[in-house]
Amino acid sequence: MALFDDKVKSQLSQLLSKIKNPIIINFFTQEIECPTCQTTHEFVQEIAGLNDKITLNVYDFLKNQDIAKEFGIDKIPAIIITDTHKNIKGLRFFGIPAGYEINSFITACLEVSGMAEPLPEAMISRIKKISKPIHIQVFVTLTCPYCPGAVATAHRLAIENPLITADMIESTTFTPLAVKHNVSSVPKVVINDIYEFVGAQPINVFLDMIEKI
């Protein structure tokens, strides 16, 4: 059975029709010992079927270890949205972006395709100045209406600076990781395993913390 009913499918097609330049959905999966991989695989397949500008590359986490390493993938299911030249590699989703997270997923597709809303000059220059590798993990649940905002903000930073990697992490799929970071309210944002905060905060709050690193 298809994941998207006709109504969702037509809404998604309409949203994805705004994609400007072609994008690649890089999907890491494996056939065994990954209870959510199969549904996530169906999800990316159905998404890729909605727009000609989307290419789906499916990688086996075990068999394609070299590519997993290139993307820095340490857990699955994982989705990385890139442009065709892989200049932008920092927009990642761990776990299925269903529920409210479908919104951050669509936003990521559009932004990587070149449809990112322009940011103020001063903010762009702050983001460009970041010179150390930054890893932002945004823990979410699929029933959280304001989590997609936090994910989109983290992803927006990753669009502007290739040193920034921003992950959506579905907390109930990766329970041990969520427990490690003491996630009991979402969205919870963890930056380089050093700084953390709870709630959908504006981009300058992310930047204030990143600049301390």
């Binding site: 994941l3 998207f4 969702v8 809404q11 998604l12 309409q14 949203l15 705004k18 959510t36 549904t39 299925i96 269903a98 529920g99 409210y100 479908i102 919104n103 669509i106 103020p120 649940t141 699929l142 029933t143 959280c144 209406p145 304001y146 989590c147 905002g149 907390s171 109930t172 969520a178 003491n182 996630v183 009991s184 309210s185 979402v186 919870k188 905060f197 709870v198 709630g199 959908a200 504006p202 981009i203 300058n204």
Partner: protein
């Protein structure tokens, strides 16, 4: 796995908003981003007055509401979808728009000024305050320190994280009982702690909650303290009638005891009522000429999306009148 996809159902509309400018003297400056603010914005722009809007986030409480079934025109709509539609209706106008920063202070005068977290001072002939409300806190020891570490305010967001755990829900109104129902489906046990001798939630919700066998309700009890170092470990509960204290071992506490108005920015500027709400008359006028207010932040009875939107319209028309007569 049962999956849903909560899409807002966007329309493709050209966005025409412009950045808010600290050098411009606006006719009307709206502070806030909920239904009252966005409706006021549409009314002001249609009247042709120079309008600006400052808000930390768009949608306010509606953005945190799962579904809305009492906003006319929609039998059933997701909170974020309704917000998206409101936002699109505003974005068709060249309104000065600043999102992501909090307005910190309103300075009254012939020309009114709004101090903003972005470091700028914005100016206008009139102001509409629509800053809404935020979750009320218990103000007990441990609450602030453990917020986000087991102390939670958004049950739909955080309930999935409390699977097979013991939790407390504080409150007895609709939001508390909805939270208790969401949690009862996943958690090992749910204890509802209610100050009053009965629940105040709608009967349909109380009936649904009574179907669960893992729910206990403690009437006439209050929370005294929340304990834990890096996460919530226990909560001290006071039995008011029997004057006894009891410590419950729980991993989570959901606080659902209503809301408080965001009126810090107009403190000592306009008159507030005993609940801290801005007192307005039937034309949304505050105690200061040229300062208007609308929605949940005001003394208007019944906090509803449709009422906030209507009040936003009224405040906008009042502000436009004020600007025209005080040229």
């Amino acid at each position: 796995m049962e999956l849903t996809f909560n899409l807002p159902g966007l329309e493709t509309i050209e966005q025409r908003t412009v950045p808010l400018d600290s050098k411009t003297l606006y006719d009307v400056l709206i502070v806030g981003g909920g239904p009252a603010a966005l409706t006021a914005a549409v009314y002001c722009m249609r009247k042709g007055v120079k309008t600006g809007l400052i808000t930390l986030d768009v949608g306010g409480q509606v953005a945190e509401t799962s579904t809305v079934e009492n906003y006319m025109g929609y039998r059933h709509i997701e909170g974020i979808s309704l917000v998206q539609r409101f936002k699109e209706q505003v974005e068709q106008f060249e309104i000065g728009f600043l999102q992501g920063y909090r307005a910190t202070r309103v300075i009254d005068g012939n020309i009114k000024k709004v101090e903003c977290e972005d470091g700028n001072l914005y100016q206008a002939k009139s102001i509409i305050i629509t800053t809404g409300k935020r979750w009320r806190r218990l103000n007990v020891p441990g609450e602030a320190e453990l917020t986000g570490k087991g102390v939670a305010y958004c049950a739909i967001c955080d309930a999935p994280l409390f699977k097979d755990k013991d939790v407390i829900v504080v409150g007895g109104g609709n939001s508390a009982i909805e939270a208790a129902i969401d949690l009862a489906k996943l958690a090992t046990s749910v204890t509802v702690v209610q100050l009053l001798p009965s629940l105040t939630a709608d009967k349909v919700l109380i009936d649904e909650l009574s179907k669960f066998t893992n729910v206990t309700i403690l009437y006439e009890h209050e929370i005294k303290a929340i304990h834990g170092t890096s996460a919530v470990e226990a909560v001290t509960v006071h039995d008011i009638k029997n004057k006894k204290e009891n410590t419950l071992s729980v991993q989570g506490i959901f606080i659902e005891i209503g809301l408080v108005p965001n009126t810090e920015l107009v403190k000592n500027v306009v008159a507030l009522n005993e609940y801290g709400e801005i007192i307005i008359d039937c034309s949304c006028r505050t105690s200061r000429p040229g300062i208007f207010a609308a929605g949940d932040v005001t003394s208007v009875p019944y906090k509803q999306i449709i009422i906030a939107a209507g009040e936003g319209a009224k405040a906008a028309l009042s502000a436009c009148d004020y600007v025209l007569t005080n040229k």
